[in-house]
Every structure is written in structure tokens, then in C-alpha cells.
Symmetry: C2
């Protein structure tokens, strides 16, 4: 398949007009029924056709004996049959000219007994034009459009529609992160667990996401590269236009062993991977938290054009702790505010507050003070980015007025990140910022690491421009 056609063919996953759910059952708790029920929740008018030769009807819908019996074209088939029935079903889907299939079923290459079956499946698919995701995948989430998970609707929450596209080789960990994003309302554009990658792999998805207008950042959990060389060439092209964050595991000695036993993957040496990722502009996360945090800032935050950070806090201790943290963070430094900025800030805050950096408004901080100080910092050329601690000043929670002001400056001003400490008092505040697409982090260090990644992104983009310029001049 030509590359252009290959990527275009993924539309059947992202924008299907008709879906066959193969393997439904009378028991509403069974995987197939849950998928059918989730699929039916789509608000896009996607037609859904259940398939089971032993049923006439399910959930008020006519049930078809096989996919070939459906009196309509089928864009996407979702298959949740026992592994041994999958090959024949895939052949029927090909005969039906189904454009794409998701194989949820496990028991293939990830097990000893299923390896043969997977090879057979791969061979069959290769001879067709049908695109296949899986096997051994959780299903997909296309935000605001479609959810084919086998997780019951009431036992799983999905994030609102947003700008982070997420491809993951681990369904379970990916899903826990997705739930974490849903918990705070950090929006995704799509969530695709790739499973055993017999056809659709991270390269396909990254290329698709690169063109997807909704996606502003591509997040990836990988244990192995499907085609390492293609991957790096692809990312080199994509990174200058859209940030990619990656948690690449299984690269340590023991990790490689673990990855081999988890997904049969050959993981590649850590140092080689580290260097290669950096060279193609990928932000490397070392933990699942960093994967989420970095994607959050790269999707919703602004790129830092320099490394000088100003801190605003109503709590002195947060300011001091953050200052230490910035000083030990490679590349970042505390901004030395100009004399005139400090003078202006002094007129806004009480005499016992501090106009230096960190700017300590103390517990008497008001929304007006915050508004004024944020305005002052915009005008000061010695400030590249702002860390704003938005925390309760008991007995008062963070007011909506304060949030509105911070949101305003985050949108129209310099790169800004909101920091807090996560607990019962702050959860709602975190959610409000996330809803307004302002990057917010539940710890001091996590907020600062996000600023660092944004600075590195800025440096990378500058180096790309340099490269372009040099090319044009010679």
C-alpha cells in the first residue's frame, strides 16, 4: 500500500459510518455486549450492527449471523471472539470489504500457544487492504465520537474531547492514565492501545495524529519499536510541527527481559534509545506521571522562549521550595526581576509581602493583586515563564475570580503553569483549570518539570529554524 493510502485508510477507525460488533452475547456483562453498548452511545449517527449466529435480536437491534449478511457496507468491525474463531471472521470481513477491524481477543502472539495463530492472521491480513488494530487491545476511544472499550460505561470514565492523542502498547497502564486524565478533565483527541501490532502500529498512528487537527501533542507508551528506522525518520519529520512525548520502557537490562516476556518485544539499549529520541526532538518521559504531565503542558501550555522563571505564591514555603527546585533543574533559572517591576509590584502588595522573586503575596493575596502582578510580569523582559501557585488560603478556597484572572493571563500572556498540592481542598480547582485548558500540576516539582520540557521544546524548535536557515543560505 502506498504510504498516503495507508494513512488515509486509518480513517475507518477514526471516522467510521458503520460498525459491526462481532461476538455479542445475551449476557450484558460479557465483553461483546459491553462493546456493543459503548459503541451505541456514539452521538455521531454511526450505524451499529451486532453479529451473532445464535441470536435474532439484541438490545432492540437485529442481530446478523455473520458480517457478510449485513445489508450495508461495514467500515469497522470490532471482534471479541475466542482466539480460534478470529481468523475465519477476519477472512469474512475481508470478503465483505470491511475497511478496518479491531481485534479485542487475546491469546495470540503474547502467549506460547497463540504465536502460530498470530503468524497465520498476519499473513491473511497482509494480502488484503483491510487495516487491523490488535489483537489483544482494549478497544479505542475517539473523543466526542466513539468508544469501543470493553469496559462498562459506568465503571470507566473518559476524558473530555481535547488535544492529546495517546498511543500505548500497554492497555492496562494506558487505561489507568486515561482515567487519571478523566479524573481531572484533561482532554484527549484519541486513545489507541495498539495491542500486538500485527498491522496498525505506532508509526501509523503518529503519522495520522500528525495530520489530525484536533491533536496538538502526541503521547506514546512503547516497549518496543515496530519499525525502529521508520519510527525515527517519521518523528524527525513530525517533531518540528507537533510535539511527541514518549515513555519508552524495557530499555534497561532487566527491563528488556521484562518487556520480552510482556509483549515479546526487542527493546533496544537505553543509551541508544535516549540519544536517538533526543535527536529527533522527542520529549522523553521516564515515568507514567511524566508522560501525562509533559503531554499536558505541550498540548495546553506555551513554548518557553527562554529559561527565566518568575514564581507567584500566597504561601512562602511553596515559593522557597519551588525556588530550590528550579535551581536544581537543568536549564531553568530564577528570573531577576527588573527594578521597575519590583517597584510596581511593591505598590500592589502589603509591606510584609515580598516583591522579589519568588513574589510572596502572603495569605492576604487578592485577585486584584494577582491580576496586577501578572500584568507587571508580562512587561518585564527578564521573565520568560511564570509558575503561579493557586492554592486555598483557608478558610477560603481558590475563588472563581482568581481562576478567571489566571486563565486570562495564561491565554493572552507568557507561558504559565499553575502549581498546587493535590487534596480534597484543591481537586475542584485543578479541574476548573483543566477545563479551561490551562496546564495545572498537583505538585511543585511536576509543575517545574513541565516548564523544563517546554523550554527544551523551545530550544529544539530554534535549532530546527537554524537548520532551515543554514540550508536556505547554502
Amino acid at each position: 500500500m502506498a504510504n498516503e493510502t495507508k494513512i488515509k485508510s486509518l480513517d475507518a477507525f477514526f471516522n467510521p459510518q458503520s460498525i459491526a460488533v462481532i461476538g455479542v452475547s445475551r449476557d450484558p456483562n460479557k465483553v461483546g455486549s459491553v462493546i456493543l453498548s459503548n459503541t451505541l452511545q456514539n452521538q455521531m449517527g454511526i450505524k451499529v450492527y451486532p453479529v451473532n449466529p445464535h441470536l435474532d435480536e439484541i438490545m432492540g437491534l437485529k442481530c446478523y449471523p455473520s458480517v457478510v449478511d449485513i445489508p450495508d457496507k461495514v467500515d469497522l468491525a470490532v471482534i471479541s471472539l475466542p482466539a480460534i474463531f478470529v481468523l475465519d471472521t477476519i477472512k469474512e470481513c475481508i470478503r465483505k470489504e470491511t475497511k478496518a477491524a479491531i481485534i479485542v481477543s487475546a491469546g495470540f502472539g503474547e502467549t506460547e500457544s497463540g504465536k502460530e495463530l498470530e503468524i497465520e492472521l498476519k499473513k491473511t491480513i497482509k494480502q488484503s487492504e483491510m487495516r487491523v488494530l490488535g489483537p489483544n487491545t482494549l478497544g479505542i476511544l475517539i473523543s466526542g465520537k466513539l468508544n469501543t472499550f470493553f469496559l462498562p460505561y459506568d465503571k470507566s470514565t473518559t476524558p473530555p474531547a481535547g488535544h492529546i492523542a495517546f498511543a500505548t502498547q500497554s492497555g492496562a497502564m494506558g487505561h489507568l492514565l486515561l482515567e487519571r486524565m478523566a479524573f481531572y478533565g484533561v482532554g484527549t483527541s484519541a486513545f489507541i492501545p495498539v495491542g500486538n501490532k500485527i498491522d496498525v502500529d505506532e508509526n501509523d498512528l503518529i503519522e495520522y495524529f500528525a495530520r489530525d487537527e484536533k491533536t496538538k501533542c502526541i503521547a506514546c507508551y512503547l516497549e518496543s519499536f515496530a519499525h525502529g528506522k521508520n519510527f525515527f525518520e517519521l518523528c524527525k519529520k513530525v517533531s518540528p510541527k507537533k510535539p511527541i512525548v514518549m515513555l519508552k520502557t524495557g530499555s534497561s537490562k532487566w527491563g528488556a527481559r521484562a518487556a520480552a516476556s510482556h509483549t515479546g518485544a526487542l527493546a533496544g539499549s537505553n543509551l541508544v534509545v535516549e540519544g536517538a529520541l533526543k535527536q529527533v526532538g522527542i520529549a522523553r518521559a521516564q515515568t507514567e506521571e511524566e508522560l501525562w504531565d509533559f503531554a499536558n503542558f505541550l498540548a495546553y501550555g506555551k513554548v518557553l522562549q527562554g529559561n527565566r522563571i518568575a514564581i507567584i505564591t500566597p504561601a512562602g514555603g511553596m515559593g522557597v521550595t519551588a525556588t530550590d527546585c528550579i535551581e536544581r533543574t537543568p536549564n531553568l533559572t530564577m528570573a531577576e526581576l527588573s527594578v521597575s517591576t519590583k517597584e510596581r509590584i511593591k505598590t500592589r502588595i502589603p509591606p510584609f509581602a515580598s516583591a522579589g522573586n519568588p513574589i510572596d503575596l502572603t495569605a492576604t493575596s487578592t485577585p486584584e493583586m494577582i491580576d496586577g502582578v501578572l500584568e507587571d510580569l508580562q512587561k518585564d523582559n527578564s521573565v520568560d515563564g511564570i509558575l503561579m501557585f493557586s492554592i486555598p488560603q483557608p478558610p477560603l478556597p481558590v475563588t472563581d475570580e482568581q481562576i478567571e484572572i489566571v486563565v486570562k493571563w495564561a491565554r493572552q500572556g507568557k507561558p504559565l503553569v499553575v502549581g498546587t498540592i493535590e487534596n480534597r481542598l484543591t481537586t475542584e480547582c485543578i479541574r476548573k483549570y483543566a477545563r479551561e485548558a490551562v496546564p495545572v500540576f498537583p505538585s511543585i516539582e511536576r509543575a517545574i518539570k513541565a516548564l523544563q520540557v517546554s523550554f527544551e521544546r523551545g530550544e529544539y524548535l530554534k535549532s530546527c529554524q537554524e537548520g532551515e536557515k543554514n540550508k536556505n543560505e547554502t
Copy 2:
């Protein structure tokens, strides 16, 4: 005051029989009234006497014109008057032979205009036997006994009674961490924000906590040392018996400036502090998360006698990510399970699961499997500690049966830490483990860092024993 008397005198804060609340008001939202209302919640039969010369009665209690008018001895006075009235009130408390006072009021040494007032106050107190906490403190929490916070009861939650004692130089940050502990039900023995430390300081508290039977770990946030030399001598004595965790900030160049402006403190160079803390056996936290996490494990977890970790997971991706993390953690390493352990584990798990380390039970993991594998690991001499991922296997949450089994082995077996990813699906599970006093962490890296700190604690204790032995031999 002799040292012994000095420490014993702190009992008036921890175990008062009568409290005067000075500065109550008719407005239930005012600081004094909130303190009165919180103090009255005590279930220990502590007598409470409100003081205000302009009121006869408040909340159904007789109100006294001044502390000297109270017809009973007063163990503890809580003062929330404007700064200028505090000195006279303190003099009255001394005259009344009040054993201790908490000065909540701000406007002293932390402000330019209050510096003189603080010196005066200090001089007065020094001539008496009364112990004073503050000024500029949030109030204290003695778990299961007393809460003198000026935060309204319904807008603040406190952790259950437990084993972490917390002394903090930042009230606001300390309080956010306390709320975090309350959110998960991680128990504290006491929470004391030291404020401006004109009398009671971290040294007093550490020495008191060292003798307190309920306290199993002492956590400390400090920007400056009240008496550096005494501090290190004290910790050298306490550390072998009880672990101390410290977040010491303000030690970087900018951080020192920030600390000076926050609390007027001289913070000391970072390298010097780092070396000194290590030498006296203190676990140094670099972030507020680490402060909480390390205290959590040192209070509720067991000390690792070696560095070899076994991982149990129902999700391959968590296992692989954790394996990488352990490999890059100084001192820790993956345990090489014995052949017989692996053979035994193989009989318990499905053929597609993995008996190596990480032990991947896959999504088909059952409580019986977990119980058996945990039992096998106890018998394997190549395993020093266990990282157990207890996460939902959708659509199922973590079952109570699973939690009971893990709790059982955490209590009777080798050092064990529970790892998860925090979200709506896992919050309740985290709380259940915390309630059972099993250390649980909301991210992979945080669980592993806790194991590392526990290993370092073990090494430190060994070095103390070595030191003792050498001393006895010579």
C-alpha cells in the same frame, strides 16, 4: 531550664487539661471563634475557657474578661489577638502561671514593623517558665485529642490518629500536606507548625517526638535551623531509634534569598546541609511529595535488609516501567528469583503469565494467585522487598479479598509497598490500604523511591550497630 524539664514542659501542648482561648468574638467566622469551636470538639474532657472582656457568654460558655479571671489553673492559652495586644496578654498568662501558650497572631518578626515587638516578646518569655509556640502559627493538631487550628472544622479535614509526627516552618504548605494525608487517611500523631519559633523550635519537638510512643517517624519541613549545632547533635541521638525525614529548603543560592524574605531565616549552604543531614541519619526529601512519601514508608513500612526487589503485577506495562525505574534507582536492584521459586509460581499462574521478575499475573490474576506468589516470595532468600501493584482489572475494581491478602503479607512478611496510579477507580483502594497502615503510593516511581529510602534506613541502622560493636570491642 534544664533540658529534661524543658522537654517535659511541652506536655502542656500535647496533653493539656484546661485551655484558655483568648480573642474570641461574637462572629463565628472570626479566627478566635473558629479556634474555640475546634478546641471544644476535643473528646478528652479538656476544659475550655473563652476570654473576651466585652462578652459575658459565647457558645453557651461563660466568657472571662482576662486569663487571670479564670477560676481554674490554665495549662494552655491560645492567643489570636491583634499583634499589639499580645505582649500584655502574654504577661497576664505568665502571671496566671499558664504552662504554655500558642500565639496564632501574625505581624511580628516576619514583618518589618513587627520585629521590635518580637524582640520584646522574646525577652519577656525568656524570664518565665512558660513555653510559647509561634507567633504566626496555624495552631496545633494532636491526633485524636486536640485541634486548635483557625480553619473551620467543615473546611478542613484532619488525618486519623497514626504514627507520623510533623513539625513545619511553613503553615500553608504543611496544611496542604496534612489535607493530602487526610484525603487518603494516612495517620498522624501530631502536626505542629512552629511559626516564628521565638521559643518552641524544631529541636524541642524532635526531642519530644523521639520519646512519644505514638510517633514512629518524625517529618520536618524547615527553612532554617533554630540552633544548627544542637539540631545535628540531637538528630544523631534520635535517628538510630526513630527515623527523621526532612525537607530542608532555602539552601540554594536563590532559595536562601527566598527563605530570608519568607521567614528571615539564614538557611545555610546546600552541600553542607546535605552532608550533615546524611551523617546524622536523616532521610532528606527534595520535594513536598517525598517528605510525605518517605515519612509514610518509614512510619508504616518495614526496613529493607537488602536491596533486591521483586515485583508482582496484573499489568505487564506497570511491571516493565517499574523494572526500568528500579534499575535507574541508586542501590536498588531486581531480585533474581531462585529456580524453585519460579517453578512454584509457575504452578499457580496461567501458562501465558510470567513467573520471572517482574511476576506478571496478567489480567486473569486472582486473590489466590496473589496469596500463593506472596507466600513463595517470603521463602526465597534472594528477595529483600516486594513491590505489589494492586490495580483494577476492569471491569473489576481491586477486591476487598485481594486487599486483605496483601495486608496480611505486608504485616507478617517481608517489607512490602503497594503501587498504583491514582484516579477515580483507585482512590478507594488507596484509602483502604492506608486505613490498614500499609504503605501505598499513587505512582510507580514514588513507590520505588520509598523502597530506596527504606533500604538506606537499613544501611544506616547497620552502620550504627557496627559503630556500637567497634566501641564495645575497644
